[in-house]
């Protein structure tokens, strides 16, 4: 077990839908992979692409951004903005030598504990197959520094 590769996944959830779904999964005693670390933001629209770049730069094998379903956003349209940013970011990731499937955008409503379990489980399984992130980390870091500036 200990020798097996375990991916590290950072997950950004919105406060209203997806964080609550994760809560419900726990309350319902559903089993989720232990590889996920959640960062709570108020809305998926708050997720700045630089957070995701930083996560990859710090060695995350995958990042999930999760918000309310389209039309259900607590702030009307934050999830659409997240969608636009993630689509662009995936293109950028590709150019940096990071498999775009390492970044997932998902809609999980507050009642969809099962979907939360399915998506996190599936992500971990896929990342296991994909193996550890091996991009040119130094290159990413250099680009990041320019972005931050």
């Amino acid at each position: 077990m200990s020798s097996e590769y375990e991916p590290k996944v950072l997950m950004f959830t919105c406060n209203w839908c997806s964080y609550a779904a994760a809560d419900l999964a726990g309350t319902s005693r559903m089993k989720t992979p232990h590889n996920i670390r959640i960062v709570r933001v108020m809305c998926s629209g708050r997720v700045d692409p630089q957070f995701i770049m930083e996560a990859f730069a710090q060695g995350a094998d995958g990042v999930i951004v999760s918000g309310c379903h389209p039309g259900d956003c607590h702030y009307m349209e934050g999830n659409y903005k997240a969608l636009r940013r993630m689509l662009l970011l995936r293109k950028l990731l590709e150019q940096l030598g990071i498999e775009p499937e390492r970044l997932r955008l998902e809609w999980i409503s507050a009642s969809e504990a099962r979907k939360f379990v399915e998506i996190t489980t599936d992500t971990v399984e896929k990342l296991r197959k994909l193996g550890p992130l091996k991009p040119r980390l130094d290159y990413v870091r250099k680009i990041m520094e320019e972005v931050v500036k």
């Binding site: 209203w16 809560d23 089993k31 960062v39 108020m42 710090q58 956003c73």
Partner: protein, 648 residues
Amino acid sequence: MRDKDVRIGVYICHCGTNIAGIVDVEEVARYASSIPGVVVARHYTFMCSETGQNMIKDDIKNLKLNGVVVAACSPALHEVTFKNAVKEAGLNPYLFEMVNIREHCSWTHTDRRLATEKAKDLVRMAIAKVKELEPLEEVKAEVVNSVLVVGSGVAGLSAALTLARAGLTVYIIDKRPVLGGFVTRLVNIAPIGIRGREFVKPMIDELVEMPNVKVLTNAEVISVEGGVGNFKVRIRQRPTYISDLCTLCGYCEKACPIEVPNEYEGKLTMRKAIYLPFKEAYPPKYVIDENACTKCGKCIDACPVKAIDLSVKERYIDLNVGAIIIAVGHEPYEPDKGEFGYGLTRRVITSLQLERLLDEEGPTGGRFIIDGKVPKTIVFISCVGSLIGNKTTNACSRRCCSTITYDTLKILSKNPDSHIYILYRDIRTYGFEEELYWKALENGVVFVKFEEPPKVEVMGDKIMVYVREATINKNIVIPADLVVLFVGMTPSNAGEIVRIFKLSRTADGFIREAHLKLRPAETPTEGIFLAGAAAGPKGVMESVIHGAAAASKALALLLNKKYILREPLVAKVDEELCSGCLICVGMCPFNAISVKYVGERRVATVNPLLCMGCGTCAAACPSGAMEHNGFKDKQILAQVRAFAGVVV
């Protein structure tokens, strides 16, 4: 915060064995204390208890803490508890961060080592964030001392009465032309056996006489802006066409040439396009069914007091309210054609139609006859649309079981030689309603338990019901004269309401409460409350209680208050950095960002009362000038960096 000044306290909760059973809390505390900046790390059985809270308060005072991390349950549960404790000890409550190691960790993992590692990671990330947190001051917002109640069923009425009696201004609206909601269609409210219309009449009578209550019928909310304490609500009121001059003489009804099924009689009889829903209806005047009316104008000629004006247009009303109570109720399930034989014969009916047949004021004058004949063998099928049927909510509708048993007793009192079968999956006559169940048993009602839903076959004049009795495990065939489908509750327009008010729904489609057990009358949105069957099936008594509960929550928020304090987790502009590009203005869905001039320089500025705190402007700002309080770039980035194990 500069590193040498950082003094953080970390508190790990056991939650009895809920957390400590899986997570090695001692190990987590030991680990936390090794992180630079942490001056104390403790673990305790129940951090939320008074002893636990005092532990934090004492440390804040004695150790001069300037940051607090509590790793316990979900912030949805106890974030407020700990924030208040921190505040009481004299520390700014926004220098506190909660870590969820129960719902997100101990309850969802089984491996002690891995769960402990995860808890350590999450605590480390929170400590990193706390180091970057800044004290914030709450935003003072003026409040409007009025409440909007959406829906005038028993729950809405109960809420509106509670609020109005306390002296608040109450607006109560209903999309239907009359007040009272679904209950007005019921004949027997089990176990008291009172007619629904008579049940709500005293409530409506008291309400409409109050000077601080305004009633709007035929009205729906179309948009909501603002937030707790000051919502701006736009309402569309469809025309009623009939003025208060109406004397209920009924000449218009006689003159009207259009006939449609009467929903107040379970669609067993017809009514005109201009009609009086029921005799106790409020407002006390005839109404026009817009969908059926052809505007032929015959009613205008017939009206002796000239109360009808068909040229009236819909109007829009803007209200300013401090809180909103959503009490939109439910819709009874309408079986599909052919579902359990429904719609194939007049002798498969729903429970609502049965109610009308048992009513002395119903279409048969209370004689229990169908197609001119007294039905002898009657089969009830329960849970249609709730647990069985084509579209199920999977939610028990709570009032049906007691109503079924009550109705069978009523039928037996009219026709003592009836044979009655109740086909059920579960009988839930809880509380005093259990008496009805025993009475039905004693009076010879046969209860048939099924696991597979029964089948109904209509063959000309005959109806055959096939069911496998689950206790004796045998197939039974019942030739029935009448089949009554007891229909469950389905969400009423919940999709639309959820969209307008920005709420969410449960898996069964009803509107979701903030917390099923601890905050059942609130929504996750501050200032918007929930009452009655809108939040899931409820009986009449439960709806009345729920309405009063929602009203008391609104009262606690607004009564005798001039302003309230709002969470300062809003966007803020660093005017030094802002280049005035105004990308943020287009991002904001709430029009909270506007332009301001600092000397000659154009910069963006945020109105903290309009800002809802989503942070999308901060994510878009190219110069890092727009910041989201409590979720600043540097705070989230610190969390992300700590994820990888970097202790900063």
